[in-house]
């Protein structure tokens, strides 16, 4: 077990509704790494991220955050989580500012008002996602992409060092994706660790150090960053096509070296 990993997953299995969804996943992310988690719809990316933050119980294996097993882990201020397609609304109107301020709770003591520093960080987070002028609006009055940006700001407000971003750019327009990429780039320079789920990397592509591709609940590829289209090579997407190319395509479940041979790889 490497003590130095920011997040380490060993032989993790997760079952949902009695069906195995993750099967013996191994993954270790060292501090400062930018990992892109990719794979087809339903391949288990969100489930893996949720298992890593403790939202999905494991049926086998273990997860460690900063060397501590998940059950004993309590330094949640170091973790930032942006869920996939969560609606930011609820039964009562909530302003943009209030939702983002909730992200600061990891660093607030019970029954203490927000300090000046807390407010400054919340304002910064709103500034970064470009919603500072809409802070008083009800979240439900924002568009889907704007709500997604509110959830990103909420994670930023906690000033975490380990980010789990589950498709943060889905439904976000290109200029704002670029802004997010710049922000994540700055965080990365400061040593933040980022685990990002994405189908299209877009402006985030240059930041990615390492790609992990899931297929049907198993790690199908773990190595240097891939271009978007490479993830959807037939042998990643469909489990039963590999025998047609048996001679020249590596079997998905065989461990791949650091320089994987990819079909369709162009120089």
């Amino acid at each position: 077990m490497t003590e130095s990993a920011a997040v380490e997953v060993r032989r993790a299995s997760v079952a949902l509704g009695g069906r195995p969804v993750l099967r013996g996943v191994d993954l270790a992310v060292v501090p400062g790494d930018f990992v892109a988690l990719m794979g087809a719809n339903g391949s288990g990316k969100s489930t893996l991220v949720r298992a890593m933050v403790g939202l999905r119980p494991l049926v086998g294996g273990e997860v460690r955050l900063f060397g501590t097993p998940l059950d004993e882990y309590d330094a949640w201020s170091r973790i930032g989580y942006v869920p996939q397609r969560a609606t930011a609304g609820s039964g009562i109107p909530a302003s943009v500012w209030e939702v983002v301020a909730a992200g600061r709770l990891t660093r607030r003591k019970l029954l203490r008002p927000l300090s000046k520093a807390d407010r400054a960080v919340i304002d910064d987070a709103l500034e970064v996602v470009g919603l500072a002028d809409r802070r008083r609006d009800a979240v439900t009055n924002l568009s889907g992409g704007q709500q997604q940006r509110v959830l990103i700001a909420r994670a930023l407000a906690g000033e975490p060092e380990l980010f789990f971003l589950d498709e943060p750019t889905a439904g976000v327009d290109l200029p704002n994706q670029q802004v997010l990429a710049d922000t994540l780039g700055r965080l990365k320079e400061r040593g933040a660790t980022i685990v990002l789920v994405a189908h299209e990397l877009g402006p985030l592509a240059p930041l990615v150090d390492r790609a992990v591709v899931l297929r049907d609940g198993r790690v199908a590829y773990d190595g240097p960053a891939l271009r978007d289209h490479e993830v959807h090579q037939p042998w990643f997407a469909e489990p039963h096509t590999h025998h047609h190319h048996h001679d020249h395509v590596p079997h998905p479940s065989t461990p791949l070296g650091t320089e994987p041979h990819l079909p369709g790889d162009r120089p």
Binding site: P93, A102, D137
Partner: protein, 335 residues
């Protein structure tokens, strides 16, 4: 007896204190229930508390304390059922509600209690609140309001996005049970003024009224507490005056007053939202892409012309009849 004399009566002062605190506490916790989309939970706890009151009446123990006890147990049970079962959770809740109400009426029958004794708790009653009851009510209500306001950031986060709250390290289950317990306590606080069968209205209606006009959580909970207090105290006073002629229970008066506030706020809310949508500045650009002059246009737009003027880039668009008209030389453009 004149009105002034009436307000000097100790029982009336006790009733006013109870109404004031009820009006503050019930909407405070009600806001968190509505935020979780559990608006009817107060109703369920109210039904369960009927059994508690009947137990107290039958055994000679204080109905207030037995009601607190049974309501808290019922609320925690409801919370556990809610957390466990997703599919038939509401059926289980319904069983609990009806069991509570039927059990209460059954027990009070066994104990040989008159229906009138139970009725005082079902629909509220002014004249029967003892000083000891007022003291307990005060302590409990202040505890509810204090916790709701003090822990508002945490309770807000848990109700807004449970999973995010868990990743933020909040003990979600503890907060969920706390909300259930606070709801149970405020039900018993409110039972002497509004009555158990209508208590949920005071938890929900002021909140529903407030959110017609608000855009943030903080202003919603604040406005709901103000409206709840107005309805509760106002309803009590109205019921007292009406009681000169006929016997009017305070509970229904309070609830009707709260509903009247809602009826007033509802159209204002619609109009306010409509206006806010209309006045929102238009997104920049777009207009430059295509030039489309509007045809026949006898009316001259300008400041105070009677049409809504909405900022757009460096000019204003005048909005009328589904068009956005911008001045361009001697004619108007469609933007």
């Amino acid at each position: 007896m004149t009105a002034l004399q009436l307000f000097n009566e100790p029982f009336m002062q006790r009733a006013l204190i109870a109404a004031l605190l009820t009006g503050l506490a019930a909407p405070a916790i009600g806001t968190f229930l509505v935020q979780r989309r559990l608006a009817l939970m107060g109703d369920g706890i109210g039904h369960v508390a009927v059994t508690g009151v009947a137990l107290g009446l039958a055994t000679g123990a204080s109905p207030l304390w037995t009601a607190v006890l049974v309501a808290v147990l019922g609320a925690v049970l409801i919370e556990v059922i809610r957390e466990r079962g997703q599919t038939n959770g509401d059926v289980a809740l319904a069983l609990l509600f009806y069991g509570g109400l039927a059990g209460g009426i059954f027990i009070s029958g066994l104990g040989g209690q008159s229906a009138a004794a139970l009725n005082r708790y079902l629909f509220g009653s002014l004249t029967t609140i003892s000083s000891a009851d007022v003291l307990v009510t005060m302590v409990l209500a202040i505890a509810v309001v204090g916790l709701c306001v003090g822990l508002a950031p945490q309770l807000f986060a848990v109700a807004q996005d449970q999973e995010f709250a868990r990743v933020a390290g909040l003990r979600v289950r503890v907060y969920n049970v706390l909300v259930a317990v606070l709801a149970a306590v405020s039900v018993t606080v409110a039972m002497r003024t509004v009555g158990l069968l209508l208590v949920s209205a005071l938890m929900v209606v002021p909140v529903a009224t407030a959110q017609q006009l608000t855009r943030s959580f903080r202003s919603t909970i604040g406005a709901a507490m103000v409206l709840g207090t107005l309805a509760s105290v106002g309803g009590l006073v109205a019921a007292t005056f009406a009681s000169y002629e006929v016997t009017v229970a305070p509970g229904p008066t309070i609830v009707l007053l709260a509903l009247a506030c809602y009826a007033v706020a509802w159209p204002i809310g619609i109009w306010q939202r409509h206006r806010a949508r209309l006045r929102e500045p238009f997104a920049p650009g777009e207009a430059v892409v295509s030039h489309e002059a509007c045809g026949e246009h006898p009316h001259a737009h300008g400041p105070g012309c009677g049409h809504l003027a909405v900022p757009h880039d460096d000019h204003v668009d005048y909005v009328h009849d589904g068009h956005r008209h911008a001045v361009h030389g001697a004619h108007y453009d469609e933007h």
